[in-house]
Amino acid sequence: MNGDLGNLLTGEMGEAESRFAYDDFAEAYGRRVAGRVRRRRAVRAAGVGGGTMLTAGALVVGATHMPWGALGAASGMGVGPSVDCVTPSPSTGEFAYSVRVETNQGPLGEVVYTDNATGKVIFRGGPQSDGTFVFTDGDGNSIPSTLDSSGAYLVGLPSGSATSGSTTWFAVFPDDAASGETRLILPSGSDSAAPAPSASDDCYTPNPTPSPTPSRGSLVTGVVDIPSTDPSLAAKPEDVVVGNPFQCGFTFPTESSKANGLWIDGTKWMDGAAAAAAIREGFSDPSQAPSIGSLPEAVPVVTVHFAGAITDSGLAVAFGTAEPSLDRLPTDPMDSATDWVASEGTTYVGVVDGRVVATGTVPVDESRNAPPVYLDLRPYDDGSLLYLLNQGAALTSCDANPVDFAQIDLVAVAGLIVKHPDGTVDGPTYAWTPVGKP
């Protein structure tokens, strides 16, 4: 027998895999595993908030933060499963609000958001026959909502008192509510009338970073009070200073930057066919490779290093081409000292004079990592490869004008949040590097 030990182990793996291929693990253990997962998720969801009750058999969905003022009274709802996350009230510094989210009749049912403090309905999201949602307040009155291009609804609610005339906009992901991954986020805006909530041990709250136009790429938790029913009228891009390089209007203070444990290098332009082949090569089963389509002659590729995250010794909550603050870090205690978690995101943006004028498109599907921007995760290799496979489809203009590819420079950006076993959170931190012109 010749060969190195690695090859011997690979051979042993292949033999075992062939042998196991005839055993349907999913058939034998799938239901048991899924049941255990459901129970553990339910217990964790009920336990983190403290003092909440779990109704057996009910669907528990993830919790969210709602640090706004008192809302108008609404009709009550039955007791349901509950909340697991609260955020200090921005006005008092106390824990004031938490929210219970219920879904009725499964994923296609109505989604109800209930104020945990008062037990009153805050609003409902009702699915329509075309798959969209219509929102009403607790009394059944229609409330304004706008469907974001990323699939989030911006739902306008009276803030403070009902007579204040101002509206607070929340980003709502009804599909996530149905799936147990609910986020209800205050989108950033131009007016910071109230101080921002600070991070708590239970809920990670990134610093508010105002953005001119709410979008999934700019939905970060913050307190806003937009005196308009149209979020698109909140502010002009040039009036707003924004805080992360995934966002429209962000001005890069330096040509490139790297953070502790996060950097980008290895910028190169690949032949389109070679890029496609390289992506497919990463899959032992080529049918698992993402659909790429026809590629241009030159495809920019950078290497993103999430040192200490999934590519190193940590565990990733999520990775992909979205801004990492969008993925809520787990609130549950870690099982072991090594079990810290991270959220990673990276994409390309279009820049003119150092300012972001076009942002990377977040995939509309759930993967958050699909062409035209594709992150080739390599768990044990030295960095992950970020491909910009179709610039026209990948970049979304920050204004009403189409992206002028002759004018923009491409910049690769990346973000990382890490939560340590002791509950402390690092980040989000960002890195970027210029790629050049398309």
Binding site: M1, L5, G11, M13, F20
Partner: protein
């Protein structure tokens, strides 16, 4: 159906055999491999993580498998550990007495104590560095080095001599699959 359920189902159906084979490398027997994989799946999917693609989920589960395996060892009762030691000694006796079996890498792996086996798989199959192995298994670097040294010595002893006298170099390789 919750969003994580299709991903879990996809991982089990499409990647189950590969993950089981990987667990089998660590555990040395099929039944325990199935148990370890179940626990790794439960651990990986239970924390509200947003697995966005089956590849990410598979990578995560694969990463969890050694941790689960080591945790199970830690939680194992003394009697079971003693049973394992006896079984290993028997396996070793069989291995050393039968040249064909000695040449079987499965038998060679089975001759290793569980922690040494885990370190060997992570080092020589997954290409992890000593600090990465230490972090993943929750062990000290020095402990990992000792396990690897012992495992390498034992594997070299069992596998190093071939029929024609060639020694099998204990080196790493580049892994592209299992993503």
């Amino acid at each position: 159906m919750a969003r994580w359920e299709p991903i879990l189902d996809e991982v089990m159906r499409e990647r189950g055999s590969g993950l089981l084979a990987y667990a089998r490398l660590l555990t040395g027997n099929d039944a325990e491999a199935e148990d370890v994989l179940q626990d790794a799946l439960v651990r990986s999917f239970s924390r509200g993580r947003t697995f966005t693609h089956v590849n990410a989920a598979e990578a995560y589960v694969r990463r969890a498998i050694p941790s689960v395996f080591i945790d199970r060892l830690r939680g194992r009762r003394t009697r079971e550990v003693a049973d394992e030691r006896r079984a290993r000694e028997q396996d070793e006796a069989v291995s050393m007495g039968d040249r064909d079996a000695v040449l079987d890498v499965r038998a060679a792996l089975a001759s290793l104590p569980a922690r040494e086996r885990a370190c060997a798989v992570l080092r020589f199959y997954d290409d992890l560095t000593v600090p990465q192995i230490a972090a993943q298994l929750g062990l000290a670097d020095g402990t990992v080095k000792r396990y690897l040294a012992d495992a390498s010595a034992r594997l070299a002893e069992v596998l190093g001599e071939t029929d024609n006298g060639d020694r099998i170099p204990v080196v790493t390789h580049s892994r592209k699959e299992g993503r």
